[in-house]
Symmetry: C2
Subunit: 369 residues, 2 copies
């Protein structure tokens, strides 16, 4: 409106520090969880490994710049479109992390070796089985490349995804995209959050301050994984809808027995039920395997005809080898534990996240050459 009053810039945005992008591991895996998620899967058009290499080099450079709170390119471009879309200007790094992973379809798709990478497909990068009770939707499952963006400012997270989508076009086409908030606990230095079922989430999770557990359960290593995955990890993402109305109508006793914990205190129930979630998912019932979770809540409008929000969990976990962790553990609880009656898995994806890189390199370089 013109001439209108002009607002002073006001107080500076709360500066949040940068998480180092470069390193032995990709940022965003063993990073204390930020509050906001943008997760997208992309399909790669064509079959040119040169295009794929250029895509990953471009995305790596952009992710490194944005992790420092920088724009991906100039905004003052006159008669050309701005290189950076601009909505995160002034917001700082906000602890942004960008984590890249390669889907199975990048290696082999309908039996075709699209990029000449088939022989490098890691054995742990299996096609996930369909578990009992799964109601998977193809449009929100899979993809050639997955990108997990996390930040402590939702606009910084959105901006990063927005500009990665823009930079990837037309080689990488976004297949699905989901925003999240309300993280799982994964650090001893953060308060433990509650999920949308009102229970604390992450009480027994692996914490980033425990490098031995990360080595044992998160970081890929030879000989199980190929050389190019050394220090990487296998990301499993499951979009899980919560039947909130049914849950809300369940007694406190029923809720606590389904999970195996007290709602308010988070303490394990004195006589933990044998079909509770924490009992069946426990290491003692799963060959001493543990699952490192890094999930977020999401809300997606209302359920048509229901009286509850269409809400759920974007369950994300990182595995040293999903054949030893996610798959048998989920196989053990799917449609069996007390929680399953309230959950429906509607999206399913697995990505091989390569190790980190040093400046000048790009994510996936050891694979793509």
């Amino acid at each position: 409106m013109l001439p209108g009053t002009s607002l002073a810039a006001g107080t500076a945005a709360k500066a949040k520090p940068a998480v180092p992008f470069y390193g032995a591991h990709q940022a965003g895996i063993a990073t204390p969880m930020q509050e906001y998620l943008q997760f997208a899967a992309f399909d790669v058009t064509g079959d040119s490994i040169a295009h794929l290499r250029k895509l990953m080099a471009t995305w790596t450079r952009a992710a490194a710049a944005m992790s420092l709170g920088r724009q991906v390119g100039p905004v003052r471009t006159g008669s050309k479109p701005p290189a950076d879309t601009g909505e995160a200007i002034g917001l700082g790094p906000a602890e942004l992390t960008v984590t890249f992973g390669f889907g199975a379809s990048l290696f082999t798709s309908n039996g075709k070796d699209r990029f000449g990478l088939a022989r490098h497909r890691p054995a742990p990068l299996v096609d996930l089985p369909v578990f009992r009770g799964d109601q998977l939707q193809a449009g929100i499952s899979g993809g050639d490349i997955g990108i997990q963006v996390c930040a402590n400012d939702p606009q910084v997270a959105f901006h990063a995804m927005h500009d990665l989508i823009k930079l990837g076009s037309p080689v990488a086409v976004p297949k699905w995209l989901l925003a999240g908030f309300g993280r799982t606990g994964n650090s001893t230095v953060q308060p433990l959050p509650r999920n949308l079922m009102g229970f604390q989430d992450g009480t027994a999770n692996i914490v980033v301050e425990n490098p031995a557990a990360l080595d044992a359960f998160v970081w890929a290593a030879e000989p199980g994984s190929p050389f190019w995955m050394r220090g990487g990890s296998y990301l499993v993402a499951r979009r899980i809808q919560i039947a909130l109305t049914r849950w809300d109508e369940t007694s406190l006793d029923g809720q606590q027995k389904a999970i195996g914990r007290e709602k308010l205190s988070g303490n394990v129930l004195p006589d933990v039920p044998k079909n509770s979630h924490i009992f069946l998912a426990s290491p003692g019932r799963n060959n001493n395997q543990r699952l490192y979770r890094r999930g977020y809540s999401y809300v997606d409008g209302v359920v048509a005809g229901a009286t509850a929000p269409a809400a759920g969990v974007m369950f994300i976990c990182y595995n040293k080898d999903p054949r030893e962790q996610f798959i048998p553990i989920q196989g053990n609880i799917a449609d069996r534990d007390g929680l399953s009656a309230f959950l429906t898995h509607i999206g399913s994806s697995i990505f091989a996240c390569p190790p980190g890189v040093t400046p000048g390199g790009f994510i996936g370089q050891e694979l793509l050459g």
Copy 2:
């Protein structure tokens, strides 16, 4: 997982203060904008004014409690469902506000006087016209009652909406629900944010520190409004999709001319184009009327077939009389200003938000008796 390590509660959640729920006006209108939105519209089942009265009394009590960071009822309920769903426990008030409004269909629906309220329908609560270029979807437009929930914690905002939905069942059925972030500027004491087009939003907005402007343009008053709307306001909500790909492919010059401002500085262009958004929306071109905006950005997956997120603006404005403000101003810019080529209005709603109440009263009491 069992037995598992147990996380310490860690640092206490950042306490954010409470916004007073009670007062002459409803909170959430002349409140400095919080960072997060949950907006839902409900349809009321049946035609019992007693049910409607009870609904508003229940919702008012719950909103007042949650605004103080309290639960809406006990969680330790044993063999009964918890009264509060619990996901905001420990998060504090987070400056939560809950703002209620009545849609036109509550007064008259298909010519029927459902609750005996038809004679109290305020003249300013008109059916919004269809503007040039509108592509409205009935499923995300209108509703008998609208609730705007805002907070500085997205989980606090979600919890409030979740529990209001639960408490409203089965009398009030949610019709649509939208989450938002990335507020408009509406206060001199906050930094001016950028929208998803990368421009600062709110430079010339009415600020909450200007009571004269609020009186002139926001608060309903007799004789234009009926007695029960004295100190209330008319909320217009428009879900506006942004053609982000087209926008991102537009030159900086083109973007700036469409809006009429410099992207980086926010300054009005030296020779502001006569078809720019800020020129055509300016008070000088609109009978000296001004529009008090309180909008949020949203992201809703990806546009099928497009290479951009399905993102937009939940445009919310509060009017003393929309016949003098939103309607003529939008009529002046729709499909005409430089910005319109990049925007599509897909949802449209109007609600009459009654004044505030004192403890013991409920929102809408003067109307519902």
